[in-house]
Amino acid sequence: MTDRPLSPHLTVYRMYRYTLLTSILLTRAAGLVLSAGLILLVYWLVAVASGPAAYHGARDVLALGALKAVYLILLAAFSCHLLAGIRHLVWDTGHEIEREQAKRSSLLLVIASILLFVGLAWWALHAGGHAP
């Protein structure tokens, strides 16, 4: 093993011991999910731009029951990635970067992400009951 810092890799880090690394890997995973969400967003925008008939067809696809799970996963990824990203920006200023502080903020991050996700999911499911 080299003495250089390594990227967060499943087989290199002792992940089970550090929630910190779990949260960093989760941030990457959530980022990938949101990249897929970007495709969905652009698909929706292009459908709107293609006129009422095309939009109607796209809406049949987007309103599929199975996609509800996808929207919930997107909201979860958004909650997690947004808050984790803000923590990264705080780290970049040189604050909260000590080991104990980072462990504490990892726990805070998990709790806050879950709260934000539950709030958003509740709103989304009660927003008139109409999936996009």
Binding site: P5, G31, L32, L38, L41, L45, A49, G51, G128, H130
Partner: protein
């Protein structure tokens, strides 16, 4: 600590940093700061729409600031996503041929997504999807 991130070549040449190395890092941070208000605005306004039928969505997208924020969202998110996926490919895809191919595809793909998204918003905002 004797740990150094500088390459032996850089040490020998002694030219110092050309300040180019932080470009990826800086753009990733800049786009992330911009995406905080943009994504929060998008989620809140999308969930606040009374309905998702074509007429309602078109009326929403024709509002000037909706169109402006949507275009900024698509462009900023595409750039941020491209930089992020790039790092994931660099870290986890091995073999220089595969890696180069994957990086090229990731870049092309994001450019297409950004162009399609921006054109779609412009078309609706300028009245092409009534």
């Amino acid at each position: 600590m004797s740990l150094s991130l500088r390459s032996p070549l850089a040490k020998v040449l002694g030219h110092g940093s050309a300040k180019e190395g932080v470009h990826h890092w800086w753009v990733q941070r800049l786009t992330s700061v911009a995406l905080v208000p943009l994504t929060v605005w998008f989620v809140v306004s999308l969930l606040s729409l009374p309905s998702y039928d074509h007429t309602t969505v078109v009326a929403w997208m024709r509002q000037l600031w909706t169109a402006v924020f949507l275009i900024l969202l698509v462009l900023t998110a595409a750039r941020h996503s491209q930089l992020g996926v790039r790092v994931v490919v660099e870290d986890y895809v091995h073999g220089s041929g595969m890696k180069t191919l994957a990086l090229a595809l990731v870049t092309f793909f994001h450019v297409v997504v950004a162009a399609a998204g921006v054109l779609a918003v412009l078309k609706v905002a300028l009245g092409g999807a009534a």
